[in-house]
Symmetry: C2
Amino acid sequence: MPNDIDNDKKYWVGFDLGGTKMLSTVYNKQFELCGKHRTKTKGHDGSKAGVNRMINTIRQSIVDADIAVKDISGIGIGCPGPLDLDRGILESAPNLGWTNVAIKDSLEDELNCGVHLMNDVDAGVYGEYRFGAGQNCRTIVGVFPGTGIGGGCVYDGKILRGAKSTCMEIGHMQVVPDGPLCGCGKRGCLEAVASRLVIASQAAAAAYRGQAPHLMQNQGTDISRIRSGALKEAIHSGDAVIDQIVRNAARYIGIAVANIVHLLAPDKIILGGGMVEALPDLFVTEVKKIAVARVLPSFIDSFDVVAAELGDLASVLGAAAWAERSTDGSA
Amino acid sequence: MPNDIDNDKKYWVGFDLGGTKMLSTVYNKQFELCGKHRTKTKGHDGSKAGVNRMINTIRQSIVDADIAVKDISGIGIGCPGPLDLDRGILESAPNLGWTNVAIKDSLEDELNCGVHLMNDVDAGVYGEYRFGAGQNCRTIVGVFPGTGIGGGCVYDGKILRGAKSTCMEIGHMQVVPDGPLCGCGKRGCLEAVASRLVIASQAAAAAYRGQAPHLMQNQGTDISRIRSGALKEAIHSGDAVIDQIVRNAARYIGIAVANIVHLLAPDKIILGGGMVEALPDLFVTEVKKIAVARVLPSFIDSFDVVAAELGDLASVLGAAAWAERSTDGSA
């Protein structure tokens, strides 16, 4: 789509490097979408081919915006971690099979503007902070239950950063001592009792036992088929046990949220990801109920639990806006 | 003691309002102690008398420093909470029986300089950050097990603040679902399994059972007599069960610390308070062991667990230094 507002040629690219696809978007100064392009990631082709695909995808989105590479002020890249933020290196992405990829240097060489790497969950949380459910808040925490459970925090307008860049690993907060084994090798992590993967496996067991006839009929017992939409469908069709399984997981998230409220006292907890998008009321209701019941009285009215508003666009918007903030020198 | 460095008359008062006593200290620009005065708090005399005692105590410490009230650039006050930081109001201090005390306004009227209220635990953590175990760190978290378990965080040079000013309520993180009842009315909080009060009550039970003969002989079974020094003495005299009780509590703190590392990724966790001062090696060893065993591999080398270095002076130093920082406009 052509773009009308190019008085000072300030455009920002927001990019999301996903496990199966990559998305590049171009925004103008007002953060209106001017162009985009999506490509398969094909991580197995290797990181060199992958970085070239990233560059081409960005170029295509710039063409789609009907502008030129020289009009781009900066590029924000949401990546799976761990990252070396200062040097702009993707240290390891097991999903892609990539290690130590100098994304920032490679892209800056080709595209002649500042490139800012960031954790993909942080990008999504920052997007919600700037343009979505977290607007006008001082502090927000995003919780995204998926295959794992990701988290991020914007504190006082900036993304909260840890000693080695990564933090807000909400999925590995222990909520059940000696609880189920987690993918990380420890026991009782939030991820081990409340991720979509755990919900799917419990749902498959219920289907196998004959307790979830609709799920059984539509998806069978293969957990790779039991995704967010399937859970929603089963619940709406009357598989009460699936409703119970999801609510039980949401309650563990509520305990973790109460712990986070006690520590960080954010204004808002924003729940996002495919499962929350499929069942927003269930998640918001259960998480809030448990969190309110767990926190000290003085915190009860200090926070709210809400669903994310921007869906898949949160991370590209957040990456583009973070590139702007980083370029202005205030990040 | 008289003071030699008064070239530009910049002195800071650091004040600690405790449940039984109040302490006022005067520091010069280099944060060398120039004067101090300690008074009983006598909270039951009411807040008006209490504020007058605060003002008199500050005046006495100024006299002790051999300077005048006009030489004071600012005053930092570490208070029990909850506080309204912006308006400088102590909203409620159950220990003192005070509610809604306009400390900032009252002191500013009398002493003609900026008064900065802060949470007393935050003051201690900030003191350690500036002058003690947390120097040269980007982010530190202080954990102070006492009657309850207090916490504070300095993030990027500033005290971490929540939506309603208070945060880092580490003592109310849930570590045991459906665990023992906590003073807050909820179950399984860290305080309910690891505070000095809980340790003392478990120690008294052990003494009653005949498992802790030294403790029994020296203190009996009254938990109000089983303070940090008594625990240390019992352990050093050979009451092995007391050692086990304290270590068990420290391990719960280790779980909470692992959760905090996953969320905030601080450089250092600083353990403080009377119990840690009495048994620093035990606490540092057990907390670190459990935390290291619980965190994701990428976090293992990212943090250290250490004992606080400044003892009681941490909070007055921190309050004075925070007054300086707030006066400079950077807080």
